[in-house]
Assembly symmetry: C2
Homo-oligomer: 419 residues x 2
């Protein structure tokens, strides 16, 4: 993509109404535009990152048998009355609307009601399950505390997976599988997450599990063992900073953290409310056992920025970066450099490498480098009169100071084999 | 994908509350589930088709310089008041909601307000435009007539593109480019569309243009020339069935049709309301000239089904089919056939061919064939004891009766070169 044509532009000032690093950097670098507190537009760069996060999640969900669907935002009141949640629990933060006839709808903050209702119609026998159904969709919650950029939105992206089982044991096995899958997803997104015990869902006796990222901007507090033996949300923990890890006896730490995902057993709460039964091998009618598993996709994007940044801007991990290479020719209006840089850009595209080409003619070298650091693309490629003398191009990683000069002739093979 | 694991199942009965062919077939074949009038869940098969339609559109939009973004559903009342549309025009069919503090939001039925506001902040100079910005997103409209399945929804998928220009001439050139792009998109989706003049947008003197598909289920009526010289929406046409085409003098026809897309000039209506100016080469401040271009993605899906079906079920065009091949081994529980069919399925997957494998053990051959015709995947592949004797596999197109027997050894190369 040519940066001269990219919508939108870099802003020099820090937006005054944003306190969080993620919002400040994402707005300044042109990834998002604030519409109102907790509601943002994803501009081309932001949309690219979000789609890459979505696709990592999709890839890993499909690997563990997930089938993708798309459920509606508008949900009829009647379904929510069956679970008693129209005015209670999550229903309290659900936006509501109505059509001209007075029929009332909720704007989906979660989808247990919709999906369990569908399941109740299609699942009849033990041989129809297990099923693992997910969607990636925009969700809505009334949010008086919408003040942390993409971390806490009134409108936000979410992947929600629901699983349906014949037995508690089958559910437990899948629950552990999702745990591993989640760790892989977050790791691919550049996030180190700590699996943390949290309060029960109210539907089973067990803990639920949160995936927490240590970060100053986080609203959660966790008590954790550095070697991953133990972590609990402070809300439920009897241990505290300085206590011994119950497993390895190391001294526990406390930290602020961001919850990027959570998984929890639902037991038979919703299958009971929505009449979702199956006939088991023994001929008996039984309630389906359920689990549910969420990842905030826009919150993941915010967390990546909270973790991966420096004074100059964002440092995108490779798998979620909007582009892999930022190609900056210095001295662009000059015929010789311009001709060659157009040629290099063409070659990069032919090789299907993902590149942002800074072909802007009204910016100084200094401005281009400052902008590149703010946008945070993993690799910067520079050609200038100086490098051209030796037929070379300069490669620099966003998070390293050292530069490497390589022959232009070898460029494509080198770029394809970068770590 | 293994059909035994596919969520959901084929229904034998026609849903009683659906009158349209698209809803009846899509529900019976397990593509969608009705939540309420005009609101559907896209099940795995339906989600696959919808994503393929989205990706065709994305591909063609990017080819004409489109940059994808994602705008919010929740839109502040204050923006809509600037254009006078909170209670007027499309505002009349806009769902509205509020948070606990009483702040009011509309659920986006269209996005001129949001995007022109962003544009007004980023576009300053003639060199900042043209810009072509689009999104693919769920939209909402109050719809008392929600009774045609996916054709007319209260919640529906839409691609909306907006263009921003320095001059009327620049706008006109792009408008013609979008017209060609739209014809290509619909053609790739298997739809023959007629570019039809319709009433002006109210913001400019010109006609707007609709992309109409002739179909009995359509709610529009068009007067058209069979050789594509002329077509007008009956609402505005002074000509009628039997009149002469003003260009080629052929006798005009009338037909019911579905509007799958529309494009229209917006002039300076929104740039004026939202203060979207640019400074031109001559140093003068001028209003940005805009166009807008919509495609109903879920309506495209419905139209495809309305057009491509027979008594047995759906006949998906290749580019939008949920899978390309439906592989059905006959006599599956028998060891010999099962072993071989598992091997063929593995090979198909290795070759990255898109295949639904009917490995269901509780269905008769007759049921499997009936289901396959209903689901409508373009090519059916069958192996049975009979074909195996000659080491062959049977290939049949969904919309043809003739079958072709090919050697299993040559299968992969033949499948990759089908028309």
């Amino acid at each position: 993509m040519r940066q001269s044509q990219l919508f939108t532009k870099i802003l020099r000032e820090i937006p005054k109404d944003e306190k969080s690093i993620n919002a400040q950097l994402l707005i300044r670098a042109g990834f998002i535009h604030k519409e109102m507190a907790g509601v943002y537009t994803f501009l081309p760069l932001g949309n690219l990152v979000l789609k890459r996060i979505d696709n990592i999640i999709r890839d890993e969900m499909n690997k563990i048998g997930g089938q993708e669907i798309l459920m509606p935002v508008l949900q009829p009141k009647s379904l929510w009355e069956k679970t008693g949640r129209w005015d209670e629990g999550v229903g309290k933060v659900m936006y509501k609307t109505r059509d001209d006839s007075g029929q009332e709808f909720g704007l989906g903050p979660t989808h247990e009601e919709i999906l369990t209702n569908i399941i109740s119609k299609y699942v009849k026998s033990y041989s129809d399950i297990p099923l693992y159904i997910y969607q990636i969709q925009t969700k809505f919650r009334k949010e008086p505390r919408a003040r942390s950029g993409l971390l806490r939105g009134r409108e936000f992206g979410m992947k929600d997976l629901y699983s349906f089982h014949v037995s508690e044991k089958d559910f437990q096995n899948y629950y552990e599988l999702v745990k591993k899958s989640y760790l892989k997803i977050f790791s691919r997104c550049g996030l180190k997450t700590i699996v943390t015990e949290a309060s029960g869902s109210g539907f089973t006796k067990e803990y639920t599990h949160e995936f927490q990222v240590l970060a100053e901007e986080g609203e959660d507090n966790i008590v954790y063992c550095q070697t991953n033996h133990f972590s609990q949300n402070k809300e439920i923990s009897k241990l505290k900073k300085g206590s011994q890890c119950p497993i390895c006896k190391i001294t526990l730490k406390e930290g602020k953290s961001i919850e990027v995902g959570n998984i929890f057993p639902l037991g038979t709460k919703y299958s009971q409310d929505m009449n979702a039964y199956f006939v088991d091998k023994d001929g008996k009618k039984k309630l389906i056992i359920m689990g549910c598993y969420g990842i905030g996709t826009t919150r993941v994007m915010a967390s990546i920025v909270e973790i991966h940044n420096d004074k100059k801007g964002i440092i995108w991990p490779k798998e979620v970066a909007p582009f892999e290479f930022h190609f900056i020719p210095i001295g662009l209006p000059e015929q010789k450099i311009m001709g060659l840089s157009e040629k290099v850009y063409e070659d990069l595209q032919k090789e299907k490498l993902s590149v942002l080409y800074d072909d802007r003619k009204d910016k100084t070298v200094g401005e281009k480098f400052v902008d590149a650091d703010l946008v945070g693309i993993p690799y910067r490629l520079v050609i200038s009169e100086k490098t051209l003398k030796k037929n070379e191009i300069e490669i620099k990683k966003r998070d390293e100071n050292k530069m490497k000069l390589v022959k232009i002739n070898n460029l494509m093979s080198i770029l394809k084999n970068l770590d």
